[in-house]
Amino acid sequence: MDQPSRIFLLFAAASIAALPARGEDAVMGPGGPAPTVRGKLYQVSRRWEVGFAFTTALNDSLVDQYGGLLSISYHPNEWMDVGVDLLANRTSLSGLSGQIRSNLPSRANPGTGQPNTGDEMEGADQMRGGALAMARFAPIYGKLSLAAELPVHFQAYLLAGAGGAAFRHESVNLCGAPGDGACAPGDYQSATSLKPIGELGAGMRVYLGQRWSLRAELRGFFYPATVLRGADLTQPGTGTSASYLGTFTTLVLGASALF
């Protein structure tokens, strides 16, 4: 009996080794065990992604923020993509801020006429728009079976980014006009500024097909913020500026297209 060549044996051994790996995928079907395909049904490597999403700020007690997010990114591999985020928000002070303003304490002592002092409320910054460089890291790919018939493929990811944003700051409790009377609506201290901003987030992408997917994300933004401490309530521009880390959380819901 002829002896098989060494290369032939090596190749045969590799083929045998491959069989148990496929055996792990064995499934029980109507016709008995059958092999299935394991792996990512939807591949994103070396593809561009363009996404649009609606955003709403959560946990921002003094401010309402709604807006849009345009994301453009490139996937060099299956696990990450890098790109830019462009944000635009419609912002205003919340109903709670209105309630606070309607019950503000008097700006001067009614008995003595002496001006009262006070600190400015934190958390009243409104982010109008921004641009951030962003990276997403997506180590988890999964599949859910809805009603045992509809497979839903998804990817979970973390993201981080940094950039700049335009802010409008409108004080909730410091009046923009001198005097000791009640502050008129629209007459509160305000300013606009451009500030560095960072973001951290987590999200999930649900694939609708090779091109389209739906995205849901939670993003936390942080930026350097300031308020006035010990301000003379009758004189705008008084008090000392104090810094703190401003934060807000945003829910992002949208869709993406891969090219």
Partner: protein, 273 residues
């Protein structure tokens, strides 16, 4: 022998060719293990997601019995060592002499629940195309009781924060979560649970607004208090008692009721046995 080796060579190719056809076949995969008829003990860490007037963080313990693959009965307890007014609430008091009504700022110190869990959706995840883990998406609901309290003094007061007991309230909870099976005995759970409890505040430390007002003026010398109300429950020193009772008198002076949604994120590890 050569025929056998040739067959082995052809086998992977033949399998690959048949893959496209197999994708169209309805298949049912045998599950590697079952959680039916097993207990599951879970230790959670939890933090409030909607902290407008209050901040909560703590731990929870849940014992479930899986009646079927997708149905379990559960009992759960949680305790929040961090349960106090938010920075916004304290800032409102300090900067603009305002505060939320007592019912809106009622704190959840601990709770106990009994309920059911349904896990209708199963799936798999792979991490870096490596190990494949099973997961389940579940919903749960329960009824129970909440132990509540009210903050009387802010963090910057002399002696720090102080609290008054406001008793037990009925509670209901709804949750949605993800269970990732790290093996046949251990799972990792991520869940968002909304605890809904009634918040009618009429007494603090067993004292009515009138009682609190009397204690505010007279301290430990207060007399004619409602049975169950004691001045000493507001603090150790005369100053603490008067300031605590004063805060309670103000918060009880405007009777309030509400239904509070305390939405918390819970992350935990389970042991199946």
């Amino acid at each position: 022998m050569r025929l056998l080796l040739a067959g082995l060579l052809i086998a992977p190719v033949a399998l690959a060719q048949s893959d496209r056809e197999v994708q169209r076949v309805h298949v049912v995969e045998e599950r590697p293990f079952s959680e039916a008829n097993r207990f599951e003990l879970t230790l959670f860490g939890q933090g409030q997601l909607n902290p407008r007037y209050t901040v909560h963080a703590g731990v929870g313990l849940e014992l479930s019995y899986h009646l079927r693959e997708n149905l379990a009965a559960l009992i759960a307890v949680s305790y929040n060592p961090i349960a106090h007014q938010s920075a916004l609430t304290e800032e409102l008091a300090a900067n603009v002499d305002q505060q939320p009504v007592a019912a809106s700022a009622l704190l959840l110190q601990a709770d106990a629940l009994a309920g059911l869990e349904l896990m209708p959706i199963y799936g798999k995840i792979s991490v870096f195309d490596g190990k494949v883990l099973r997961l389940g998406l579940y919903l749960n609901a329960g009824l129970g009781a909440a132990k509540t309290r009210l903050q009387l003094r802010p963090s910057d007061a002399v002696g720090g924060r102080s609290f008054g007991d406001t008793g037990f309230r009925p509670e209901a909870a709804l949750g949605i979560g993800l269970r990732v099976f790290a093996g046949d005995r251990m799972t990792v759970r991520l869940e968002v649970r909304d605890r809904v409890y009634s918040a009618y505040v009429s007494k603090v430390n067993g004292c009515t607004a009138q009682d609190a007002g009397v204690i505010r003026r007279n301290g430990t010398a207060a007399t004619g208090l409602t049975p169950g109300c004691s001045a000493s429950s507001f603090g150790g020193s005369e100053e603490e008692i008067k300031s605590g009772a004063g805060s309670a008198a103000i918060q009880l002076g405007d009777p309030s009721s509400s239904v509070i949604n305390n939405i918390a994120f819970q992350g935990g590890v389970s042991w199946l046995f």
